[in-house]
């Protein structure tokens, strides 16, 4: 066992160094800069869109048509000092609070707050972003009342407003599903970027025939696992490099930190990230092992290139399955995605967002580890049978060809 570990690490070390100590690696490492550059251009456009959305934001006043002029008048006056979102006065349909809630569902623009009820006992539904808007609506009601009456004592308030926060359908749950989805996406994205490289990993050994030296000295399983670990090291370097840059960037933007803290995953932030890292490892090893095994069967660079499309499709399919699971936690499809070995790491990465229990993760990690071992064993066996052994068959196989011709 110790010997196997040692041999695996020798292979891993070689692969890691051979990958990192090349100029191409710098290009690989810095490639996201290009993505970020395009992202910045894109985000300029996006922020314009966002400010467009702010222009469209409204505050609504459900008021009797008779009160409307007074309210509009007060608004015209107050608007000189404040600059609230656009005020729209809506005629009541008699349903009261129900009408107000429905108005939040308006599609055009964002509704910050809705006021309804008699002016002296006003109720304001506050949509979360509209704390100032709610105060503004209250003040409008007060002014409108005062305008219709004389001799009000300076300190006296004519209106009593109740401000109720508007509850969108289970916001915490959907927020958590949002994090779950984000976790699935991050793990998928990193794996998509990094694990695909595994396809061509044995191409080098096959083309320069080092494979026989390796195969003679080290069990193929160790060769496969070593190569995976070596490439995972490269992936980790990549993730750490960008992770550090990203957190540095985030710390400059405190508002983002706030949103993150506001939407805590059910399992807790630290375990969520730890499990996320573990699932990334598993996703990388699992998919990497599949790709490595499939790629090892290919005998030419062209075949490897041809394989990249089905491999991407396979990954996207796993992502699709897992993201469905993240948005529908607890359903059969979610359970399937969490159990099916090749989507399990993605799905389980999102699982912690909505489920506080730890043990499913322990179980999932063991389960995934088992599949990593199984995949590597099968891949090595196929390689041994298909590439090292067989001399017949249509495909030109490296050793097979040699085995029969040269013996």
């Amino acid at each position: 066992m110790k010997r196997l570990v040692r041999q695996t690490l020798v292979i891993a070390r070689r692969d890691f160094i051979a990958t990192v100590a090349t100029p191409t690696f710098l290009l690989f490492l810095l490639a996201p800069f290009f993505m970020i550059a395009f992202g910045v251009v894109g985000s300029l456009g996006a922020s314009q869109l966002a400010s467009g959305a702010a222009d469209k934001a409204v505050i609504l006043f459900i008021a009797d048509p008779r009160d409307a002029p007074a309210i509009m008048g007060a608004d015209a006056e107050l608007r000189k000092s404040f600059s609230p979102a656009k005020l729209v006065v809506v005629a009541p349909d008699g349903r009261g609070a129900a009408q107000a809630r429905d108005l939040f569902g308006r599609e055009e623009g964002d509704v910050y707050a809705v006021a309804f009820g008699p002016l002296d006992r006003l109720t304001v539904l506050n949509g979360g972003k509209g704390e100032r808007a709610a105060a503004y609506l209250t003040e409008l009601a007060e002014r409108a009342l005062r305008a219709g009456r004389a001799g009000v004592a300076p300190g006296e308030r004519l209106s009593r407003a109740t401000v109720i926060p508007f509850q969108r359908a289970a916001p915490s749950q959907s927020g958590r599903q949002g994090i779950g989805y984000a976790a699935v996406f991050v793990v998928f994205f990193l794996t998509l970027l990094l694990a695909g490289q595994a396809v061509g990993m044995l191409a080098e050994e096959k083309s320069n025939k080092v494979i026989e030296i390796l195969a003679a000295a080290v069990p193929l399983e160790s060769v496969f696992l070593g190569k995976l670990i070596g490439m995972f090291g490269v992936a980790l370097l990549f993730v750490c490099f960008w992770g550090v840059l990203a957190t540095q960037g985030l710390s400059l933007m405190p508002s983002h930190g706030m949103t993150l803290a506001n939407t805590r995953p059910a399992i807790g932030l630290v375990p969520f990230f730890l499990f996320g890292a573990a699932y990334f490892t598993m996703a990388y090893l699992l998919l990497g092992a599949v790709f490595l095994g499939v790629g090892a069967q290919a005998s030419t660079v062209r075949e490897i290139q041809m394989l990249s499309l089905p491999i991407t499709i396979f990954q996207v399919a796993m992502f699709g399955l897992s993201s469905t699971a993240a948005s529908q936690p607890g359903t059969t499809i979610a359970l399937f995605a969490e159990i099916f070995p090749f989507s399990s790491p993605f799905a389980m990465a999102g699982h912690g967002a909505t489920d506080p229990r730890i043990w499913p993760h322990a179980l999932a990690l063991v389960w995934q580890l088992f599949w990593v071992a199984l995949t590597i064993t099968v891949a090595a066996r196929m390689f041994r049978r298909g590439v090292l052994k067989s001399g017949s068959g249509g495909m030109k196989r490296l050793f097979g060809r040699k085995g029969t011709a040269e013996g």
Partner: protein
């Protein structure tokens, strides 16, 4: 199984798609010997070696290395130079040798140190920090050979080690093999070049058509063929050929024929009596080359029948 055999193979067989690449080969290599596996191209030498090393599993038969039926279990005591040479082109010579040592359980630091010494003694010291891709094919092959002995293995398996080397490097390789034997290692190598086998091997096996056709020393192999006589008369004449054995054929100044069963003396008496005299006479065993051709040829004939 504490015998003093480094390698023992019994009835090794390997099928490649219905064709018997190796068919019941037995092999016994005593410790400390230089042992040659000879055979024509496609005889099954490489497949036999691969089965011995555990790269391939035999379809039938068994093998033991140092008494262990699982060759991989003793992998750290084995050094192997495959026939298909291969090194990572981007690696430096020193690293490549240390890497091969590390695969066999040698510490990296120690491997690098030994690599320097080995390269120096192979007169490749100038290339220690060169990348493999800068080397000539022959140099790269030497580097790979050094890599396969850097961990001081007890058994060294070399598949066609001389092919691709110029005569000077072939000479160096022979010296290296002898020095490894002097260190105490057992060397098993395959070749189809008889000259090396003749000079190096303590024992050898000849494989043809997947079967073992001969096993023994070089002298025993040569003894498979009768001695040849080369007779050069002092004065040639028309009647001479009639006095010589029937198979005598002119060869340069003289005649060559197989040594008759009753010896050379009756022939000499006849030619002396006829006054042809003796300017030169040599009796010699045919070389391993001829023995090999005969053994392999016989095997091919046997397979045809």
């Amino acid at each position: 199984m504490g015998d003093d055999l480094a390698v023992r193979a019994t009835g090794l067989s390997k099928l490649f798609g219905g064709r018997r690449a190796v068919d019941g080969v037995d092999l016994e290599v005593p410790m400390g010997m230089i042992y040659g596996v000879l055979g024509p191209n496609g005889a099954g030498k490489t497949t036999t070696l691969r089965m011995l090393l555990g790269i391939l599993e035999p379809d039938r038969g068994s093998r033991m290395i140092f008494g262990n039926p699982n060759p991989r279990a003793v992998g750290d005591r084995i050094g192997y130079l495959p026939e298909e040479r291969g090194l990572y082109p981007a690696m430096k010579c020193r690293e490549a040798i240390a890497f091969m040592g590390a695969l066999r359980g040698l510490d990296w630091q120690e491997g690098r140190k030994r690599a320097g010494d080995l390269l120096e003694s192979a007169r490749l010291g100038h290339a220690t920090d060169d990348k493999i891709r800068k080397l000539s094919k022959g140099m790269a092959q030497l580097v790979q050979l050094l890599g396969s002995i850097v961990h001081k293995p007890d058994l060294i398996v070399l598949d066609e080690p001389f092919s691709g080397l110029d005569p000077v490097n072939q000479e160096r390789l022979e010296a290296l093999i002898r020095s490894e034997q002097a260190r105490g290692a057992t060397i098993l190598f395959s070749t189809h070049v008889m000259a090396h086998a003749e000079r190096l091997c303590d024992r050898l096996a000849i494989i043809a058509g997947g079967k073992r056709r001969f096993e023994g020393t070089v002298a025993e192999a040569r003894a498979e063929l009768p001695m040849h006589a080369l007779y050069v008369p002092r004065s040639d004449g028309p009647g001479l050929s009639a006095l010589l054995p029937a198979d005598a054929a002119p060869a340069g100044e003289g005649w060559r024929f197989l040594l008759p069963e009753d010896g050379i003396e009756p022939v000499l008496q006849r030619v002396m009596a006829a006054g042809h005299g003796i300017a030169g006479l040599s009796l010699e065993r045919p070389g391993l080359h001829d023995a090999f051709v005969r053994i392999v040829g016989k095997a091919a004939m046997g397979d045809m029948e």
